[in-house]
Amino acid sequence: MQERHDDEFRIHRFSPYRLFIERVSAYWVSIWRCWRTVLDWTVWLYIFIPGILIFSGMYRDVLRNPPEWLFEIPITILLALLGLLQLSGKLRTFAEPGDGLFLHRNVKWVRGMTKAGFVYGLVIRSVISSVFIAIIAPLLLHIFNMTAVYVSALIIYSVVCGFLWMMISDQVMRMWRGWQRTLVFLTARSIFMVVFVWIATIGEHRVVILVGVSVLVIVVASWLMRLRIRTKGTLLHEISVENAAYVASVGWILRDTMEKKPVPRLRRPMLFKQSQPLVRHRDDTYRLLDSWFKSILRRYDLLKPLLYFTGFGSAAVLLPPFIVAVIIWLVLPLLLLSSLQRQWEQWLSEPFIALFKWRDDLLEEASKKAKVWSALPTVTLWAIIIGVKSGLGYGGMGWLAIVIVPIAGYFWLTFINDILSSFSAIRRKKE
């Protein structure tokens, strides 16, 4: 009798569906491993679990004793949220660059993987819509007095609309590029949202319309699926969808370690299309500064911390009493400059910039100017808020603070920046 080995090659073990399932599991395991590096037990214990408990308690209280304003909320807001959730869907086939060698030469396998992608998309849409509607179901049933039949029909309607959007967005991404794609997406999203909310609102009183539209959507989606299955040459598009999905899932955690950053979708930048300088190139320092400021404006990951500081910092000086606000205003520039210093150093270590030997004096001067100029608009805004608070609180001469505090803020900012810069220069020399 022939001995059976576990690693024996058996052709029936291999099918597009098995491969798809293997890739889906590998993908989610890799995402989970990545998130596990930041979600340790302390984060669960001190942030997530208390957050879930507090939110559940608050939600229960709202349902038991609904505040009056809750009855005033138009149902269209909840339906619009449900519609927005559907716009996040992408057709995933879990394609890999190596598929070009074998898999994409075999029509059966390509079609199998695409069909598996449809099922995966439908499952994800169903989970997302069901979870969202389950969370808001008590509101829909008890506050808005909707029927269970309507809520059930709404789940089906959301799932099929989400699936249809997934097919449409896949088609748009393959057919258009650049600003045309942006324009088509903007138009399609607006039309989808208006129609989705309109039908869902009408369906509240005539469920049959909701069901009828759902059937119509299924027919259109089936036609798009048929078209998609017959489309050839989609591998590069599928790989770029997979890359974008991975970056969207873990990009924030790996932002400093990702070797290959996402390639811009456009051939030319949206800002400074003709590479025109943002600051005049008076010398090498200004040339370096010009590159830094353009990087901040073109890279959202560099701009985001600055926007957060501006938003949260403004709230921090606006809300507390005047004296506390002044103390916070004095401390905030230090935090902002430290964050900018870290960003500046990361930017300098970008492979292309690190290729060159930069003079120490040039780096020191550019570092000082880069931080002060980046922080100045935010620090000035905080200073104006302090000035307005002073004017409102003390009146008369207090209003002078609107002019005096921003000037003092500038000197305070440069003073802290000089200290921070000298520390970083000493550290760089030691290195």
Binding site: R267, T285, F352, L355, R359
Partner: protein
């Protein structure tokens, strides 16, 4: 030794590699005189690119000394791109959110090239390598060949004393190869030196004055084409390709 006989650049590498205790190259001496063009040749995995990375201070494990005009480099961490040295890597290194022109502006800042001179040089090079029409586009969106040309422009823009060029012919179309060879000829007439690694032995034979053949992490042979022929036991008209084949094949049999 007077300044004229001193090599412009010399690297005495005891060992270099990516992991401690596992050197990829050992006991290699490379020197390049002013105006000289040296070809660093060897089969795949011989350690050519490792040597280049070592010279540029990009290796985690490196033991050896670097000399510039006979003076030992105080930093010894390796050379970075400056007005002395330009590095043209095999894999283009680019910044995702900078246009081609902005890449060149940054090169001008690093090399302290005056604005007028920079514009003149940059525009000439962009036209030469046929990238003028795409100078306001992101090079990360270019084809491999166009990205390679971008790296060449960056290197030539600096007008350094020494070019370290890693596999320059890969990805270039025949027209661009010709432009590259001509540009290197012009740089030689200016007195610039070149240390290049390549597998394209015909071009290397035409381009280089001297060769260092690296094999199994060490130097198998070095010198002029004549020296290489003698080391390989070949006749006076033998091409570099055949000598290379004989030297590496011989070593293969011995090992």
């Amino acid at each position: 030794m007077d300044n004229e006989t001193l090599p412009l650049f010399r690297a005495d590498i005891e060992e270099a590699g990516y992991e401690p205790g596992h050197p990829i190259v050992r006991d290699v001496i490379i020197s390049v005189k002013a105006g000289e063009r040296v070809g660093l040749l060897g089969p795949n995995g011989a350690g050519k690119s490792t040597l280049m990375k070592g010279i540029l201070g990009q290796l985690p494990h490196w033991k050896g000394e670097l000399y510039w005009r006979g003076e030992e480099e105080a930093s010894s961490g390796g050379f970075e791109m400056s007005s002395r040295i330009a590095y043209i890597p095999e894999q283009p290194i680019l910044y995702e959110r900078m246009t081609l022109w902005e890449h060149l502006v940054l090169v001008a800042a690093a090399g302290s090239i005056p604005e007028e001179l920079f514009r003149e040089r940059a525009e000439k090079l962009l036209r030469r390598f046929r990238l003028y029409s795409v100078k306001h586009e992101y090079p990360v969106r270019f084809s491999k060949g166009m990205q390679q040309k971008t790296m060449l422009i960056i290197g030539f823009l600096m007008k350094p004393e020494l070019y370290l060029v890693d596999e320059p012919f890969i990805g270039l179309d025949p027209g661009a190869v010709l432009e590259l060879l001509e540009a290197l000829d012009e740089e030689r007439s200016r007195g610039a030196s070149v240390l290049l690694t390549t597998h394209v032995l015909d071009s290397a034979e035409r381009l280089c004055d001297r060769f260092v053949l690296v094999h199994d992490g060490g130097v198998a042979a070095s010198g002029t084409l004549e020296d290489i022929r003698i080391a390989a036991g070949c006749g006076p008209d033998t091409r570099l390709f055949d000598c290379f084949h004989k030297l590496t094949e011989y070593d293969e049999v011995q090992s």
